[in-house]
Symmetry: C2
Subunit: 402 residues, 2 copies
């Protein structure tokens, strides 16, 4: 069996944890498996390197920043190979250029294009554990690139696809995917299985277990993922195309506090205004999530929408500059809001789901400010101060703890 | 003009020094020159990485150690490129694999084989300052290698040769090559020029201004070196084939305390014994420097020689194991010794030079324990406690301060 195992930065933060990971890899290896290990930079290394760059300049070039950051994973893989070797098992570390893992040229947010599996196969065939740098690639200019935060998950999935691995195991701080954040909802239950689409909704809603792009890639190449804890041996959650639990309406509840609401008030009620507004934001790469538009009265209407809280200042500045073009009377915002969502592949054909959610919230006097739905998700915008309470009542309403 | 500038680790140890180096590079660039900068790892980075490896295992594999250490220079070059860019000048950092600089496979002590100048030329042609990792290379397996301590000097000289640079400037903590160590001999004088051969003798005798291999390479490819201070703008020392100062007998005095004397006593006075002894040491890569052999008496003789103090324990263990084969009665050693040398291209044809040196030493009652001479050097072994005093009297005897 060929197993790809990915460990994040906290799993290799110090000597003891490095040896813990080494022991887990050797355990699989000694059962006769081929083992590929993907690592992030140790602990807070990447943050430390970014701080060093910012000591030099507030706006380092992205090409040079990637040149700097890619050293982080190289340190991890070299030390891991040493640790495995010191335990009597052959190992070799490889960076992105040595494989090579080719990416697009977009420094800081490159996308993997092609992985050459020859060198890895060669090392596996000579019975070595192969330790590979996550998060990075090399572009057509032979320059180093990074895949963006969380990119090591994507590296692991891409390697699993390229090598046609039998398993792709993603080790994290938590031991699987839960029906809700266990720190907020004490009786949250670990899911044994979840579909790619549900996982994507979870990830995009702030349950930061897996990097979104890695799930998309796993779905595309049908790579079965196991989400496991690097600290315990507990059974994790399997992410795959079809789950056995089709009958379950709702898999979980997720909260996203990185959101803010913007209202553009009193715009003319005529065609093209909404287009102008969202085109303006799109050109500045500001993602808009939920949108509601008031019914026009006296030839005027209001448009409200949510953006990531991190984009709020830029969005507000843009809108204020363009009030005339947008025919807006005023622009307002509120960042003390949160999105709460229920996610489940089974809810499509069950119209009662949304009603049950709204009922649970109104039962504890939580105001719903906006609503959005997709095939497998219902999201409502509420006040941030209500978020944790909302999570618990919705979790209970759908009996997710059982 | 194409200028290669090399800065050591202490010259890029922090933000301020990085900007100091950036400013010096930009100064040359703005005069219309093409500028290539070679950097070592920042400050004590390499020692820190070695310590990290030793936390994992006392004997890290050399291949993985090189994978680890090469990150050090990559951090330096990325930060330097950012600093230059932030000062408004185009720059790009390149590591050994990107160039590529090909080396032999001997991890930890690889030798440069070939430098591909295409990428560097391309970047210079687009008017960028090119910042290159010193000390490292890539071998035929695409694995990273290091050139051994001080290897960044060699990288700079090799780049200067490959690019047919007009100048190769090596920046160090000192501002040139002195007639003696200025910390010991206060009136030591800076040399404006010195020949490759003299520089080689200085370097091998502990005046650690330039890495020996870099001087050998400079001599082979006739690369004129300038040894300069990274802290001041003082005129440095030029190292080249022929110096203007042929008439000067002696260029300087150097002391080497990394030495120890071993005496193998009472060996049979018959052919082949000395060969056995030195062959044994050579097979264990222990360098032998000065050798003296007593005149045989009663079919016995004594052989004494010096080794690097760092090799002493290994050499003594080897000799004790092989006393029978070597027909030795006893093996003794003394590590409280030092080598003091005078170096000068002009001394070959001047038999009075040695006499003057010995006279100066005996005048202050310093015992000479062994003597060795080469074309441009006379070395004597003395007690370590006399070393600094010896340096001063010899420096005075040859009027080197004038």
């Amino acid at each position: 069996m060929l197993i790809v195992k990915k460990f994040g930065g906290s799993s290799v933060a110090d000597r003891e944890r490095i040896f813990n990971v080494a022991a887990r890899c050797i355990e699989d290896y000694k059962k006769g498996n081929d083992v590929v290990v993907v690592l992030s930079a140790m602990g807070k290394t990447t943050d430390g390197l970014i701080a060093k760059a910012h000591e030099i300049t507030p706006n380092p070039s992205k090409r040079e920043l990637d040149m700097l950051l890619t050293t982080g994973e190289q340190v991890s893989v070299a030390l891991m190979a040493m640790a495995i070797q010191s335990m009597g098992v052959q190992a070799i570390s490889l960076n992105a250029a040595q494989i090579p893992m080719t990416t697009t040229t977009a420094y800081g947010q490159a996308k993997l294009k092609r992985i050459d599996s020859e060198r890895i196969r060669h090392e596996l065939d000579s019975r070595k554990i192969v330790v590979i740098t996550g998060f990075q690639g090399v572009n057509k200019y032979d320059d180093l690139t990074t895949l963006g935060r969380g990119g090591s998950d994507t590296t692991a999935v891409a390697l699993a696809a390229a090598l046609r691995a039998d398993r792709c195991e993603i080790y994290t701080d938590v031991d699987g995917v839960y029906t809700a954040d266990p720190r907020v909802v004490p009786n949250a239950r670990k899911l044994s299985e979840i579909s790619y689409d549900e996982m994507l909704e979870f990830a995009s809603l702030g349950a930061k277990v897996l990097h979104n792009r890695s799930v998309e890639m796993a779905k595309r190449y049908n790579v079965e993922l196991a989400v496991l804890s690097s600290l315990s041996c507990a059974e994790g959650t399997i992410v795959k195309e079809k789950t056995k639990m089709e009958k379950m309406l709702v898999s979980g509840v997720a909260v996203d506090k990185n959101t803010a609401r913007i209202s553009v008030l009193g715009v003319k009620d005529e065609p093209g205004i909404a287009f102008k507004l969202f085109d303006l934001l799109a050109r500045h790469r500001i993602n808009v999530d939920i949108i509601i538009q008031s019914i026009g009265r006296e030839n005027q209407k209001d448009i409200s929408f949510t953006v990531d809280r991190t984009d709020l200042d830029e969005a507000m500045a843009l809108l204020r500059e363009n009030m005339e073009v947008l025919t807006a009377q005023a622009v307002e915002c509120n960042s003390a809001v949160a999105k709460i969502s229920i996610i489940g592949a089974g809810m499509t054909s069950n119209p009662g789901v949304a009603a049950k959610m709204f009922e649970a919230l109104s039962g504890v006097h939580i105001n719903i400010r906006m609503i959005a739905t997709s095939e497998i998700r219902i999201t409502v915008l509420i006040d941030e101060e209500d978020a944790n309470r909302a999570m618990r009542v919705v979790h209970d309403a759908f009996s997710l703890a059982e």
